[in-house]
């Protein structure tokens, strides 16, 4: 019954897509390079806030104000998160 399947641990992009799917009411498969604040209707400042705390919780990190401000589309999110946790290395 879960609308969103759980990604395999360690698949950073998969985990980001899961979080984004939950926050923006999308399916993970819909999320890709084109997914941004401009293309997702629900991506307002409130959902931005939820996105940030959800990502922090998922990856066990604390993002800075600058990092938070740069999370405006999927590629940037992947870049910021990968940077913080060490690219692809799990």
């Amino acid at each position: 019954m879960a609308a969103v399947s759980e990604a395999v641990d360690g698949d950073v992009e998969g985990r980001i897509r899961e979080v984004m799917a939950g926050v923006f009411e999308l399916s993970p498969a819909e999320i890709g390079p084109q997914t941004s604040k401009d293309t997702v209707e629900r991506w307002d400042s409130l959902q931005q806030l939820t996105l940030v705390i959800s990502l922090e919780e998922e990856f066990g990190i604390q993002l800075s104000d600058e990092e938070t401000a740069s999370l405006l589309n999927y590629p940037l999110i992947v870049a910021v998160i990968s940077d913080r946790i060490g690219t692809g290395v799990q």
């Binding site: 019954m1 879960a2 609308a3 969103v4 399947s5 759980e6 899961e18 979080v19 939950g22 926050v23 009411e25 999308l26 399916s27 993970p28 498969a29 400042s45 409130l46 931005q48 806030l49 939820t50 705390i53 959800s54 919780e57 998922e58 993002l63 104000d65 938070t68 401000a69």
Partner: protein, 615 residues
């Protein structure tokens, strides 16, 4: 792989969504679960009772929404939440409250209301600070009264949360008008103001966050970037507290606590260890037991009945309660004691019958897991506490949230005395007498009057708690009653009953609404403690008197069936009203007021109190 699954499935249930969330309670899942519950509510396929809620706020509190949705769903409720602007004003209220909300929350941060009382406090002349503080509390009070004037919603006002860091440093605390002391004083002032408005209460967010830790509750980055200062920990606690506040308006879930003795009220076994050998005191192993005793005596003072169910010799138990110097509880604190070697479940059922409290309103506390499981199985309605393991996180009975009420009335404080008087009455009744002889022997005196402000808390409590002898089961909160008592076309009558054994307190009320020459009995109820005393006759007779005096010629009584009120289905027939209308199970009767009043039996004396009458 369900990657392309739709966002939500209209066939799922709220319970399934909650189970899915609880399996991995992350923020992302919470957001999604809340949205799916909202979706079910929109589709009309959920079983949650829908309430409208308006939040008057000056900061980004929307993240609370998902937390509220989840906690409300656990309580069988759904809150449709609307928000004010970030600078709420009285002008905004008409539009904001247009849809007749059930709950209005005022969540106003001091930081966003007044920089002069927060970050810029040190710029003030000390003498000016008090006036500034008073002005801020007055602004909130104006909003509270503005809400009250526009709707009957229950109002919850958040108090001010103390800051983590203070500009004045250590000297701040030494200053009576420093940042911390001013906020504390404002919180006291806020309570004094808010309590004057019916149906309004303060939610102590400051105490809530202090208990959890101010640092953990504050999201500095959220505050900087989005004016959203509450951390996930704060949001979760606040949602729980908000629901608890909402439920408390309906009175406590538990009316009677039944406790075990050995290893619960004291450490050790009195029958083996003796009075000097048991552990009970303010230090050492007896401390935990004495703490429990203090909690129980305070529940008794709040109107929760206490009872003992213990496998012991009764003389041993009485000796501890009477003679142990460290025992807080005394025999008089208990409404019933069943100390014997019988089955505990049977004893609890007997206590329920003796006190006339349903087992669904009882809790049982025991240290023995076997007894707990046994009682839970035999009496599934009884709320069982395996003490002390079940009390999380603080170890206090308050963790259970079973005893909440927003006001404590005089009846609450006297309740144990009343329960005990009731047990004495039962002894009298057991002596051979006809029912009428018994009623005459009681020397019943009913005092009746029209409700003024001081009566409304208890009247509200009666409408919310009375199930059996309640003709229409209409629940009213303080705000609704205040509106009714101001309505010249309506009257609220209360009834106070006493007999030679003592007072029962205010045990009945009636509400009549007049429409030209017809007066309709909107509410007629009598507490189950005084069934069979004809108190209802006194109420109906009074409603007839008031309606006649106001010019009505017909008094209409109605019966709206509920699961519990079958015993009064034919009440108006018995009094002598004539049936006029049957709409399914709901029925109406008429009494011709031009022919007189129904009257009362001669074994009950009636005193009409004119104080508090609004004429």
């Amino acid at each position: 792989m369900s990657a392309t699954a739709p966002p939500y499935d209209q066939h799922e249930t709220v319970a399934e969504i909650l189970a899915w969330f609880d399996e991995k309670p992350t923020i992302a899942r919470r957001t999604q679960a809340a949205r799916r519950i909202d979706g079910l509510q929109d589709l009309g396929t959920s079983t949650l009772r829908s309430l409208r809620c308006v939040v008057i706020r000056n900061y980004t509190i929307e993240p609370l929404g998902a937390y509220l949705t989840i906690e409300a769903a656990r309580a069988g409720l759904h809150l449709a939440v609307g928000y004010s602007s970030y600078d709420p004003s009285i002008e905004e209220l008409d539009e904001l409250l247009g849809a007749a909300p059930d709950l209005v929350v005022l969540a106003l941060r001091l930081e966003a209301m007044s920089s002069a009382l927060t970050r810029d406090l040190l710029a003030n002349e000390p003498a000016a600070v008090e006036a500034l503080a008073e002005a801020v509390v007055d602004r909130i009070d104006v909003l509270v009264q503005g809400v009250r004037a526009r709707c009957n919603a229950m109002i919850a006002v958040h108090n001010f949360v103390l800051p983590t860091a203070v500009a004045g440093g250590l000297a701040d605390t030494q200053n009576p008008v420093g940042r911390l002391n001013v906020a504390r004083a404002m919180n006291v002032h806020l309570v004094a103001k808010v309590r004057q408005t019916g149906g309004a209460s303060v939610l102590d967010v400051d105490h809530l966050f202090a208990s959890l830790g101010y640092q953990d509750c504050y999201d500095a980055r959220g505050d900087r970037t989005s004016a959203a200062p509450l951390s996930p920990i704060a949001l979760e606690a606040l949602a729980t507290a908000q629901l608890r506040n909402l439920n408390a308006a309906r009175g406590p879930l538990v009316k009677c606590v039944v406790v075990d003795c050995d290893n619960t009220l004291w450490g050790g076994v009195i029958g083996e260890d003796g009075l000097a050998g048991i552990a009970l005191g303010d230090s050492g192993p007896g401390r935990r037991h004495q703490d429990l005793q203090y909690e129980l005596v305070n529940l008794r003072r709040r109107g929760i009945a206490l009872a003992i169910a213990s496998k012991n010799e009764v003389a041993d138990v009485i000796e501890v309660l009477t003679s142990h110097p460290e025992s807080v509880l005394r025999p008089g604190d208990f409404a019933a004691m069943h100390v014997n070697w019988e089955d505990k479940a049977d004893n609890i059922a007997a206590i329920a019958a003796e006190l006339n409290i349903s087992t669904g309103h009882m809790a049982f506390i025991d240290d023995d897991r076997f007894q707990c499981e046994w009682v839970a199985e035999r009496l599934p309605d009884v709320r069982v506490v395996h003490w002390p393991d079940d009390l999380e996180p603080s170890g206090s009975l308050e963790d259970l949230a079973w005893f909440d009420s927003l006001v404590i009335t005089d009846e609450d404080r006297q309740r144990t005395t009343m329960y005990r008087a009731e047990a004495q009455r039962r002894t009298t009744r057991d002596e051979a007498m006809t029912p009428e002889e018994y009623l005459r022997s009681l020397e019943l005196v009913a005092t009746v009057g029209t409700a003024a402000d001081q009566h409304l808390p208890r009247v509200a409590q009666l409408t919310q708690r009375t199930n059996q002898f309640n003709l229409t089961t209409r629940r009213y909160d303080m705000a609704e009653l205040a509106a009714l008592s101001d309505d010249p076309g309506a009257a609220i009558v209360w009834l106070d009953l006493r007999d030679r054994f003592g007072s029962y307190g205010m045990v009945g009320c009636g509400i009549v609404r007049r429409d030209h020459d017809e007066a309709v009995i909107d509410t007629l109820l009598v507490s189950c403690r005084v069934l069979g005393r004809s108190a209802e006759m006194v109420l109906v007779d009074q409603l007839a008197r008031i309606s006649r005096a106001a010019g009505a010629t017909v008094l209409v009584g109605e019966y709206v069936p509920s699961e519990r009120n079958g015993q009064v289905a034919d009440l108006y027939d018995r009094i002598g009203f004539s049936v006029v209308d049957t709409d399914g199970a709901r029925r109406q009767w008429k009494w011709d007021l031009t022919a007189g009043r129904p009257g009362v039996p001669d074994w009950i004396q009636v005193i009409e109190e004119s104080d508090g009458s609004r004429e």
